[in-house]
């Protein structure tokens, strides 16, 4: 541990010389050194490393590692799970979308909120009652454990890695911009800290990192929204009037414009954004950290509240950005209002912080954005490590006979490996346009993980063959359609015309997965299929009551 801590602090201390170098050599590093940002961020890192040290002493068993021993309260978990979802990309990306497209950005926020109530209504209780460490526990409850775990672990890992790449590249660029720390150092810093949190502190540390960060983010977002809104006398009408008056599209930003122009695209996007959430492994995993179904429900209610509130705030930030930032030459390259924004359009929220609260607010929000990235990648790394060690190692390779100590050891090794891969991919994908990876992560989550999970929970007739056919169909079709979509076929591969015209595959790939799972299960007349149908009753009683969970979780 000491060595890793040392590496982390070296990487962090390395900040100062590189800062100076970046300033001297590279005039395009746009932000001046912000000591508030660096101080607050250092405090965050010190506090979270302290928590990791404390958590490391309490993380002995596999249950401690994966689920914090099931001892997280509904409120704490609500904050943590909301934190997992509210990444820096959410704060910066949605603010910038509202800034550029007005109401379209708001529709985007609504769509990415919608999975939360659905998660409560359809899944929160059953997740807690049926699962133990990973969502693969649930899909393999009455189906063939080996085949189902391999598929669920692969679906989970793919989503985790796509998400991680996006976060790492975003982290590198953002930190370079905000702190002047060179891209590769930034990626290494994030990767090393993430590995330390997860490998030593497991879910206990990861949860507390996430809780602190979510509180900071909610506080920072609220403060910024209040400062912004205050300039318009807390009158939404004045804010929209000011935004419409200066935006190049004028009153058109008050209604839907391009995002959902095509109905098929709109429906496909809406399905993916909503149901993708229900297949994100790092989100699902959090529902195993609470003691019972009642706390699980409570966490979903809190998380929905925090996220809904935060997304509503973001709209004020976006509109405020139009009214305040878009007219100020200080925030544009060469002072050219309407030209390129310093640091790119994703910087609107940060420029707004500077405009409304000065360098102190900018520093605070920058530090929060950095902390956010760290917390989100940690949650992802833990979910990935759990898929490797609990699903693939303990239950597939060792057929459930692995000792707890060896499972925990494999988790730690897997975390370090994931950390190294994440750093490597972050450096490899530097400067790439990765928007498609988000579509891909949500597309796969909605088309492969979600259909198999929900059918295994609710449909007696699902068989192993059906689940495999559905899951693989969803995975393959989502990947294929994204490759053929404009985001990859045209923007990455450079072909003139996309074969699949929509950016989001969910309408097609998710339907295909459900249809395939249904047809194959229905035509599966094997002996095993009959046994799987018969075992639904046991599963149903436990899904409803949680009865037998403690006893059953030991096999």
């Amino acid at each position: 541990m000491n060595r890793l801590l040392l590496t982390a602090s070296v990487a962090l201390l390395g900040l100062y010389p590189t800062l100076a170098a970046a300033q001297g050599a590279n005039a395009s590093a746009p932000q001046p050194v912000n000591y508030t940002a660096i101080t607050i961020f250092m405090l965050f890192v010190l506090a979270t490393l302290g928590i990791t040290y404390w958590a490391a002493k309490r993380s002995k068993t596999a249950s401690d590692f994966y689920t914090a021993g099931g001892g997280i309260s509904g409120f704490q978990n609500g904050l943590a799970v909301a934190g997992d979802y509210m990444s820096a990309a959410t704060l910066l990306g949605i603010t910038s979308l509202v800034y550029m497209r007005g109401y379209d950005g708001f529709l985007y926020a609504v769509a990415f909120f919608m999975g939360w109530p659905v998660l409560l209504f359809l899944m929160a209780e059953r997740l807690r009652n049926l699962g133990r460490f990973t969502f693969a526990d649930i899909v393999s409850y009455r189906l063939d454990p080996k085949a189902m775990r391999i598929m669920a672990a692969c679906g989970g890992l793919i989503v985790v890695f796509f998400y991680l790449i996006v976060q790492m590249v975003g982290a590198g660029e953002l930190i370079q911009l905000l702190f002047g720390l060179e891209y590769n150092y930034a990626v290494v810093t994030v990767g090393v800290l993430m590995t330390v949190y997860v490998a030593f502190g497991g879910m206990i540390a990861t949860t507390w990192v996430q809780i602190i960060k979510a509180s900071l983010l909610l506080f920072g977002g609220t403060l910024l929204a209040v400062l912004t809104f205050a300039q318009f006398g807390f009158d939404f009408g004045k804010l929209t009037a000011a935004a419409v008056a200066v935006h190049k599209d004028g009153a058109a930003i008050m209604g839907p414009s391009v995002l959902l122009r095509d109905p098929i695209q709109a429906i496909s996007f809406a399905l993916g954004a909503c149901f993708g959430l229900l297949g994100l492994p790092h989100i699902l995993m959090r529902f195993f950290t609470v003691p019972d179904a009642a706390e699980s429900r409570k966490s979903a209610v809190y998380a929905s509240g925090f996220i809904g509130y935060f997304f509503l705030l973001i709209c004020i930030l976006g509109l405020g950005g139009i009214a305040i930032v878009s007219t100020n030459p200080q925030y544009f390259v060469g002072g050219n209002v309407g030209g390129a924004m310093i640091g790119g359009n994703n910087m609107v929220a940060l420029h707004l912080a500077q405009a409304t609260g000065g360098n102190l607010m900018l520093g605070f929000l920058s530090a929060v954005a950095f902390a956010t990235i760290l917390a989100v990648v940690s949650g992802l790394a833990l979910a990935g490590a759990a898929a490797v060690s609990h699903d693939l190692y303990a239950n597939v390779i060792c057929r459930g006979k692995a000792t707890e100590a060896s499972e925990v050891r494999v988790t730690k090794i897997a975390t370090v490996v994931i950390g190294i891969i994440a750093i490597g991919l972050g450096i490899l994908f530097k400067g790439q346009n990765l928007a498609f990876l988000v579509a891909l992560a949500f597309g796969i989550a909605a088309s492969s993980n979600f259909p198999v999970l929900i059918l295994s929970m609710y449909w007696r007739g699902l068989t192993t063959r059906g689940a495999l056919a559905g899951g693989i169909t969803g995975l393959v079709s989502a990947v294929t359609l994204v490759i053929l979509s404009p985001a990859v076929w045209v923007k990455v591969l450079g072909f003139p015309q996309a074969i699949f015209p929509y950016d989001n595959p969910a309408l097609f790939s998710m339907s295909a997965a459900f249809l395939m799972a249904f047809i194959v299960s229905k035509t599966d007349k094997s002996v095993r299929a009959k046994a799987e149908n018969a075992a639904y009753e046991d599963q149903y009683v436990r899904a409803q009551t949680g009865f037998g969970r403690a006893a059953a979780s030991n096999h």
Binding site: Y103, L107, F236, T240, L260, P263, V301, D538, R542
Partner: protein, 102 residues
């Protein structure tokens, strides 16, 4: 195959009543959420002008903003309604399980 205790719980009419009541509640609230959500999405794509019209004559704020806020806030209120009901049902169900298994 099935655990005999689970069979007894599953066949208990009180368990069945509570379970089906809660399932019905969950699916109903899910359906309301989806109607609101796809109502907004389909309006945005098929009749965008509806959402773009001003809230008050001569004002700039469009009706789309409060409608979007409603589509976030109402499902959230439904989640609160749901846990109140589900918690009561869970307690009732725990009593049934306790009786059946003792």
């Amino acid at each position: 195959m099935s655990d005999p205790i689970n069979v007894r719980i599953a066949r208990d009419p009180r368990f069945q009543a509570i379970a089906s009541r809660r399932n019905r509640l969950a699916w109903t609230l899910f359906a309301i959420t989806m109607v609101l959500y796809f109502g907004l999405i389909l309006t945005a794509t098929l009749a965008p002008a509806v959402l773009g019209q001003p809230l008050t004559p001569g004002g700039t704020t469009s009706i789309g903003w409060p409608i979007g806020a409603v589509v976030i806030i109402v499902p959230w209120l439904l989640t609160i309604f749901y846990i109140n009901r589900a918690n009561a049902d869970s307690r009732a169900m725990a009593r049934v399980v306790e009786e059946v298994t003792k």
